[in-house]
């Protein structure tokens, strides 16, 4: 598949925003949060979600009709995502507002719990958009959902440590430790899906695509000599070396490098900012690779130009 920057940005920015909110809410449940930290974290989470939502509009041919996308929630995971994302943003806003107004702890936590439920629902919707397509075998796995959740949580955790360096210095150590462990788990889970996908055998072949049982079928012409939607949308068009370099860079940047900075960097603001920036760059590469790795069966029909 051709990686689309709009979708790469949507899933990585929203993922970090969701992860950050979940970390803040879990801290809120277990301890008394400094109001400044809660406010900054909710603000940053919202900002990331708004940026992700804005990026998603660039994926649409007719963005002025985007409101229609909320109508098919009975069957479409994309439609469900379109509903849950703004609902989650609204609840994060309310949760932040309750912190700002210093309202009763119970009310704040109820709003936070509702937002957390929407946050998890959003991870499920986003993951299922890809995982429900059964013939995209690289995506059609529970690991797709698990990775979206864990990678979002990892980047949110790293970001929470960075924000703590600004607004809650006492918590930096604990949050950096948490970010280290969640990052490690997310990295292992992403590696598991790399191994799984490397072992996949495509179910569709040229023989099933044109229905002729023969081991040697070679396409001689695809019916046109220029490009088409089919040749643009479903091929990343990059040389193999770029794809492999992207894989190695995300494998380094998603965890080992930021993990080292989190664990042994001393916890200063600059080090934590570097850890988050590098991890986020790694997640952009990871998401690019996620799309590039998926082999759409329609590509069997577009193997040869002449």
């Amino acid at each position: 598949m051709r990686p689309a920057w709009s979708v790469i940005l949507l899933t990585t920015l929203a993922g970090a925003g969701q992860g950050l909110f979940l970390v803040v809410f879990l801290l809120d449940v277990s301890t008394a949060l400094p109001p400044g930290f809660a406010l900054v974290a909710c603000g940053v989470s919202l900002l990331l979600l708004v940026c992700g939502l804005a990026a998603s509009f660039f994926h649409l041919g007719r963005p002025e009709r985007a409101w229609r996308a909320a109508s098919q929630w009975r069957t479409s995971w994309l439609s469900r995502e379109v509903i849950v994302l703004p609902a989650f943003m609204g609840m994060v806003f309310l949760y932040g507002l309750l912190h700002f107004a210093q309202s009763e702890r119970q009310t704040t936590l109820i709003a936070g719990a509702a937002a957390a439920a929407l946050c998890l629902a959003l991870f499920v919707c986003t993951g299922m958009i890809y995982a429900c397509l059964k013939f995209l075998q690289e995506w059609n796995s529970p690991l797709t959902l698990v990775n979206f959740l864990l990678l979002g949580l990892a980047s949110g955790f790293t970001l929470s440590a960075l924000l703590a360096a600004l607004a809650w210095p006492q918590a930096v150590g604990a949050l950096a430790l948490g970010a280290f462990f969640i990052g490690a788990v997310a990295w292992l889970s992403r590696c598991a899906s790399l191994v799984r996908n490397a072992l996949l055998r495509p179910k569709s072949t040229a023989a099933t695509a044109i229905g002729i049982r023969h081991p040697r079928i070679v396409q001689k012409a695809q019916g046109f000599m220029g490009g088409s939607f089919n040749t643009r949308e479903f091929f990343h068009g990059r040389p193999d070396i770029v794809v492999r370099a992207t894989r190695w860079s995300f494998l380094l940047l998603v965890f080992p490098v930021p993990g080292w900075l989190l664990g042994w960097g001393g916890g200063s603001l600059a080090v934590l900012a570097a850890a988050f920036a590098l991890q986020f760059a790694g997640l952009l590469a990871e998401r690019w690779y996620f799309f590039a790795e998926a082999r759409h069966p329609q590509n069997i029909y577009y193997q040869s130009m002449a």
């Binding site: 985007a66 059964k134 229905g211 040697r216 089919n230």
Partner: protein, 211 residues
Amino acid sequence: MTTKQLALVIDLNVCVGCHACVTSCKEWNDGGSAGPLSDVNPYGKDPAGTFFNRVQTFEVGEFPATETVHFPKSCLHCEEPPCVPVCPTGASYKRAEDGIVLVDYDKCIGCGYCAWACPYGARELDPREKVMKKCTLCVDRIYDELLPPQDRQPACVMACPTNARLFGDVHDPESVVSKAIRERGGYALMPEWETRPANQYLPRRKNEFKE
């Protein structure tokens, strides 16, 4: 299974790869209810365009025992169309009355998710209209009572010089398409994804000469 399911049956045994169905389809559907089918740079260096139907060519076997197979490809109007439930706006739908899978161009937001959800690559995003386009089985021809009855067929079927394209109701066991599927080994593409394509293909046959 009782309601109508219109479909094409494509006879690979007689398709000669002339592309008449491609040009005829493009001509008819560039106007009418599906049009325009936009082209980008049609006379320039890198021409690209939107088509509902293409004829591809495959070589089967190893030289000298090879066979050239011309393979027309368009939307298969699946009975379980994976492109329909994923559409977030309801713009993609399968008509209850005749099983044609259509796109409502006024509701489509051009997100492209239905094209991802089609294993056959049957859908193309129109580069100018920015909405998804696909074969309509010439829905604006086949019911047009202003046309003489013999012309109420998809443009590709009308154009085929070798009668490689049959059109009819695959749920009616006595239709020309059902008989062809039954008697000449009609098959579906990529059965592994359980999309149950309505369009089927008739296999190549060996010609036998008797002394």
